[in-house]
Each structure stands twice: as C-alpha cells, then as structure tokens.
C-alpha cells in the first residue's frame, strides 16, 4: 500500500514539475511582453496558456539535425543529462505537513523525506552542468564550446558560496532535512514577526539569491548563452526536441530553485497559525498548505522573470570578481556572524 501511495506521489510530482516548467515559460513570455508593451502568446487556450504545449508539438515534428563532426554519443546524451536532474531535484521539497490516509498510513507530502535534503538538492542540481558541458563539447562549434566553458567556470564559482550561504540555516536548524528546516520557521519572533530565515539570515538570503540566479543561468548571469556574443551558447547546434529539453531543464530548474528559496527562507508551506498543531487534522489543511507553498514559490518565479527583463548582463570579468571577491567573503562572514550571535545568545541567556 505504501508503495502504491509512493508511486502515485512520484507520478503527481513528476507531472507537476513539467507542468510548472511549461507554466513558467508561458509566464515569462507573457510578462516580458507586458514589460515591453507587446501582447505575447494570447491565442491558444485561455490567456495563451497552451502555447508551451503547442510549441513542443511543433518542435517534435521538426527535423532533428546532427551536424558534421559532432561527438555522437555525447551529443545525444547531453540533453537527457541536462533534463533528468532538473526533474529530480524537487523530490525532497515538502509541500505540506504529513497527512494520515485511511487512518493508518502517515504520508509525508513530498516525494522523499530524506535526512540529507539540502545536500541532495545541491548535489543533484549541480549534475545539470554535465549536460551543458557535454553538449557544448560534442557540438563541434566555437560558440557552443565557449558557452559551455563559461557555464562551468560560472557554476563552479557560484556553487561554492551557494553551499556556504546555507550553512547558516543549517546551524540554526541543526538539521539538513527540509521538513525540520520548515518546522523551525513556524513560531513568531517578538510576537509578531514570522521566524522565517529571510529575517533570521538576511545576509545568507541575499547571497543565496544571487547564487540561485547564477546557478540557473538567468540574467544578469546568463553569460553561457548570451545571445549577442555566442548566438545561443551551448545549445547553438541543437534542434527539434533536444533543443526543447535544454529549455524544459532551465525552467524546471527555475521552479525548483524558487521552491527551495520558499522552503528554506520563507517558511515553506507554513504560515503562522496554519499547522496541524493549531488547526487540528482537518481535511482542508494540506490543501491550504500546498496553496501557501505554491504562492511563495510563484512569488520567486515572478522575481526571476522580472529581474531577467529589467537588468542587463554582467561582463564576464565582473561576474567572476563579484563571485570570488564579494559573495564568497560575504558567505563566510555570514557563518562567522551567525556562529558568534548564537554563542552570545546562548551564554547571555
């Protein structure tokens, strides 16, 4: 029975992430159109919502070109290696408190409730880079190769303090499980402020947010695919569905990163007063919590999109300098400050 429940959960989340990737793509096109005083896709389905679906069907029927001189194995593997991890990272993100089904099965509302939650996301998330760099190398194209190596250097630099910025949260929580991290943010500070890590770890939040933009290759850090210099970057030579897969991977990563931001820094599915402890096990509670989680996540998705269409791209040396000379020291400073404050708070009462 538990296996059946697990399978259903996996299928739902799997389908949901892909649907959200499509929805994010749609939202990006609509919002960018709004910001540039255009219409954007508005014909297919209500508000043009079916446009991503139609686009994939169209591209499915296009020729799948394999250019001369490509490394065939890697060229075919790369889109899959980029897409598969992007669909997996969301596995550990909880979207509600555990519910009891049929009076006996306690079901955590996430795919897998594992102890190493945060490390799982960081580890699987960084697997996406293999798809990018293999695709870039295999394409036998100068633009692709440059996009690929840029992407690697950028991801390496920014992953460093992405991990570092989360250490402060881990120190406060004493756990890597995302459920524990959410649970630790449910009380109120001074009776009115939700104890979200956004308020308890402001520096960590800022550093993580910057790293999140860089890790998902979004503007102002989208140098791996900067159109004006590199045509399309690592996916220049890709066509048909392989091209789409890189994009689904990118938008799924945006959604997952937003979900992680909401979970770690914005209290996840919790709002003050909205928990099993305070409302009792009523039927609408999981629905309400999932809605809260989704709202917070979509807020970050909107932030990702708005930033992309408002800021201009950094130069590559600026990007590297920002990463190594500003963000890395800030991440370490955050750990020192958190550690010292926790120590002082402990000793003085």
């Amino acid at each position: 029975m538990m296996i059946a429940i697990n399978l259903v959960k996996v299928l739902i989340v799997f389908a949901f992430v892909q649907a959200m990737a499509g929805l994010t793509l749609w939202a990006e096109r609509r919002l960018s159109a709004l910001m540039q005083d255009r219409w954007g896709p508005n014909r297919l389905g209500p508000f043009g919502l079916l446009q991503p679906l139609a686009d994939s069907v169209k591209l499915l029927l296009k020729e799948d070109i394999t250019p001369q001189g490509v490394d065939r194995l890697l060229y075919y593997l790369a889109p899959a290696m980029s897409l598969a991890p992007a669909l997996m990272t969301v596995a550990v993100v909880p979207f509600g408190e555990p519910v009891t089904l049929f009076g006996q099965y306690v079901v955590p509302l996430q795919v897998a409730d594992i102890h190493l939650g945060i490390l799982f996301i960081l580890a699987v998330g960084s697997l996406e880079i293999y798809g990018i760099v293999f695709g870039a190398w295999a394409s036998n194209n100068k633009y692709s190769l440059l996009g690929g190596v840029r992407s690697v250097a950028q991801m390496l630099s920014y992953e460093l303090f992405m991990g570092g910025s989360l250490v402060g949260v881990v120190m406060l929580t004493g756990s890597l499980r995302l459920n524990d991290i959410v649970a630790s943010q449910q009380h109120l500070l001074w009776g009115w402020l939700p104890a979200w890590n956004l308020f308890r770890q402001p520096l960590g939040f800022v550093v993580f947010l910057v790293a999140a933009f860089a890790e998902t290759n979004r503007l102002p850090f989208d140098l791996p695919e900067s159109e004006q210099e590199l045509v399309g970057g690592y996916h220049t030579e890709y066509s048909s569905m392989k091209f789409v897969m890189f994009f689904i991977a990118e938008y799924a990563a945006v959604f997952t990163m937003s979900a992680l931001l909401a979970t770690v820094f914005l209290g996840g599915y919790g709002l003050p007063g909205l928990s099993v402890a305070e409302c009792g096990p009523v039927w609408w509670l999981p629905v309400a919590q999932a809605a809260v989680f989704l709202t917070k996540t979509l807020l970050f998705v909107l932030l990702f999109i708005t930033v992309r269409w408002s800021l201009s791209r950094l130069r590559y040396d600026q990007l590297m300098r920002l990463g190594w000379k500003v963000m890395l020291p800030l991440a370490l400073l955050n750990i020192v400050v958190t550690g010292t404050l926790m120590f002082l708070w402990r000793t003085t009462g």
Binding site: N6, L7, K9, V10, F14, L60, L61, K62, E63, D64, P67, G69, Y76, P79, A80, L83, A84, P85, L87, M88, A91, V111, D113, I114, H115, S139, N140, K142, Y143, S144, L145, V149, V152, A153, L156, E159, L160, F161, G163, G168, V170, M171, G174, S175, L176, V231, T236, E237, S240, M241, V244, M320, R321, W324, P329, L332, I335, V336, G339, M342
Partner: protein, 135 residues
C-alpha cells in the same frame, strides 16, 4: 537528527530517477521518430554566423578557466567541511565555546589561502590585460 540510516526513504527518489531518465531518453527517441529527415551537406555544417567555419570547433581555452577549476577544488572541500560542523553547532554550544573557537581557527587557515590567491591575482579575470596594452 541522524538516528539510523533508513534507505527505504530513498526508494521514491530511485523511482523518480528511473522515471526522469526514461522520460528524457524517450523524448530524444520521439523526435527521431517524428522529425522529417532531409540531409544536406551545407545544412549540417557547424554554425558560424553564416560563414564557412574557420578551423575546428574545439578551441584552445584561456588559462583562467583551468585556474578557476583548481581554486574551486580547493575551496569546495572547505565548504563541504562546514556542513557537518554547522549541523552539530547548536548542540555543541552546550559544551562551551570550543566549537566556536574551532571555527575561527579553521577560518584563519582558510583566509590565509584565500588572501594568497587574492595577492597572486587568481580571482582576476584577464589579469594580464594591463600588460597587453600597448605603450
């Protein structure tokens, strides 16, 4: 906290992995099945802004990329050390300030390496640009 390692919690992750990999490969397969094929010597050339490409597609890369990878290796191990330390930090505070002082010692060593890299210009992209300038 870590009581025992319950691998059954990873079962759904395994299922999801299989699902994601299968989906990824089936999409590739689908586009091969449905896409039309019209081979063409010119079309299959590597794209280079519409010109015949000059030389191969695999360029020599600037040394900075390799340098970045080496610095990453050095620092990433340090960040990995910080996770288990941060995990037990709150609990260990009950035993006094040892764990805090330990962090300061660790950071001093880390910062020494970081400062050395800074002085050598390892974090500067295009650090030799000044030298390249004429005059």
């Amino acid at each position: 906290m870590v009581d025992d390692v319950d691998l059954s919690a990873y079962f759904p992750v395994f299922v999801l992995t299989v699902l994601a990999v299968c989906a990824a490969f089936s999409i590739i397969l689908l586009s091969h099945l449905f896409g039309p094929v019209a081979r063409d010597r010119v079309k299959s050339r590597p794209y280079e802004s519409g010109m015949p490409s000059l030389g191969g597609g695999r360029l020599r890369l600037s040394i900075e990329y390799y340098l970045m990878a080496i610095i990453f290796l050095a620092f990433d191990v340090e960040v990995t050390f910080l996770f288990p330390w941060g995990l037990i930090y709150g609990k260990s505070l009950e035993l006094g300030s040892f764990i805090l002082l330990e962090m300061f010692f660790f950071f001093i060593v880390l910062l020494a390496g970081y400062a050395y890299g800074w002085r050598e210009g390892a974090y500067e992209w295009d650090s030799n640009r000044e030298a390249d300038r004429p005059g």
